[in-house]
């Protein structure tokens, strides 16, 4: 095994381009588990954890979060998304949140990555860079399957970007305790009142992160009626219907964390609660 500790992005990209078998190491909270359990034996590791330019973080209507921003930093700062902070807060433990990064969550591309339903609902863009240049991939096109993405081996995830959608957004997940859980199911709801757009992202209930487009259309209809710039209290029937449509978009399986039926049930409950919560936020 060889390890290259990258000084900057160009140095990391040179190294990735020269080695077809390179594995990128950021916070290590996913990769080291695979290594410790003998499931991965990378021949060459490109460590990017000290590349300061990937820790940049700018918010000015448009949010650009460098790939190495940790969950701890998201919680210490205005993260440019309330839902993202809600997702970050119960991820792992302080130890995990001090190391794990948004770029790592994207790179692992697990359907259970908790920031990912939020990025889906925000219609975020993933910024990838290689020696050939930079490309910007809509989040919806980034993940192609469980732990699979369009990132090429010579590319580095450098940032996630999204338009600041305002405060009407939330993230919820169900697990056996608040800390240290892989979600049984997760749901992000973003209502961008200024752009008149609703985003619903579902996690841990399909092979990839799922957008619940019918639920989005239904909520947009409610907001059209109530007024996009006004808070309102959706009727119980409307909230329930929104939850039903959100759950209907899921493609869950039975596994050790929960059954498919339970996942659909909790998505419906979370959906109804999320809509009631977010509709009340100006």
């Amino acid at each position: 095994m060889s390890v290259h500790i990258s000084r900057d992005v160009d140095d990391a990209l040179d190294n990735l381009a020269s080695r077809k078998d390179a594995t990128v190491l950021a916070g290590g909270t996913d990769l080291l588990v695979e290594i410790n359990f003998g499931r991965l034996r990378p021949a060459h590791i490109v460590a990017i954890d000290r590349v300061d330019e990937l820790k940049d973080f700018s918010r000015n209507g448009h949010v650009r979060m460098g790939a190495l921003v940790t969950y701890t930093r998201m919680l210490e700062n205005d993260a440019g998304s309330v839902a993202l902070q809600e997702a970050a807060r119960p991820i792992g433990s302080p130890q995990i949140r001090n190391a794990a990064t948004i770029g790592g969550n994207l790179g692992t591309a697990s359907p259970a990555g908790d920031t990912l339903p939020v990025l889906a609902a925000l219609e975020a863009t993933v910024v990838l860079r290689s020696k050939k240049g930079e490309r910007r991939v809509p989040f919806a096109d980034f993940i192609t399957g469980p732990k699979k993405s369009v990132r090429r081996p010579d590319e580095l995830i450098v940032a996630a970007e999204w338009d600041d959608a305002g405060p009407a957004q939330t993230f919820m997940k169900v697990g056996t305790r608040n800390a240290m859980v892989i979600a049984v199911a997760g749901l992000a709801l973003v209502v961008d009142r200024r752009r008149r757009r609703v985003g619903v992202g579902l996690g841990s209930c399909g092979p990839t992160i799922i957008r619940a487009t019918e639920a989005e259309r239904f909520a947009a209809g409610l907001l059209e009626e109530a007024g996009w710039d006004r808070t309102h209290r959706p009727s119980e029937a409307a909230a329930k219907e929104f939850g039903r449509l959100a759950a209907g978009a899921a493609k869950p399986i039975d596994d050790v964390r929960g059954t498919a039926a339970y996942r659909r049930h909790v998505l419906a409950v979370m959906g109804a609660r999320a809509l009631a919560r977010v509709a009340a936020i100006p």
Binding site: M1, L25, L32, I35, F37, P94, Q95, N98, A99, M180
Partner: protein
């Protein structure tokens, strides 16, 4: 692979074999066995150390990639035989039973109290949520954190 890093204030040179974690380097190459090895997946917190000031699981840091880092382990806390107030508080509160999780909990408590001298009960629970104890039921641990905070900051 030979690496150089700072451990408990001293420049050290250590052997980090392929795919070995910082935890293994600390325990086996540097004979610092205070950090414990249990789950190897960042779930239990018994390997908690400070790296460049941040609380992390040493089992989730690749040893070879820890070159140049500044690592502080539980061994750095006591002054010879003189226990650190966090350690003394754990002893006095009866927060130590089998003792396996204790070094990790002490480092996590030390990290918490450095940042937040008088944490609320909720803040303590959240700060220690990555450290699992199978003996105490946590009540005595919460009491130990409160005692430590008192010993360190309330006069």
């Amino acid at each position: 692979m030979r690496i150089k890093l700072t451990v408990n204030g001293e420049e050290r040179e250590a052997e980090a074999a392929d795919h070995e974690s910082l935890l293994t380097v600390l325990r086996e190459s540097l004979s610092l066995a205070g950090s414990k090895n249990a789950c190897e997946q960042g779930e239990c917190g018994s390997c908690s150390v400070l790296m460049d000031g941040d609380l992390v699981c040493a089992c989730l840091v690749l040893g070879a990639a820890a070159a140049g880092r500044n690592v502080q382990t539980v061994e750095s806390l006591s002054d010879g035989e003189q226990l650190h107030p966090v350690q003394r508080a754990f002893v006095e509160a009866g927060a130590v039973q089998c003792g396996f999780c204790t070094p990790g909990l002490i480092v996590a408590t030390y990290a918490l109290l450095k940042r937040n001298p008088e944490p609320s009960d909720q803040e303590v629970r959240e700060a220690l949520s990555g450290n699992i104890c199978r003996c105490t039921g946590y009540g005595k641990i919460l009491e130990a954190v409160d005692r430590a905070s008192g010993a360190m900051y309330r006069r």
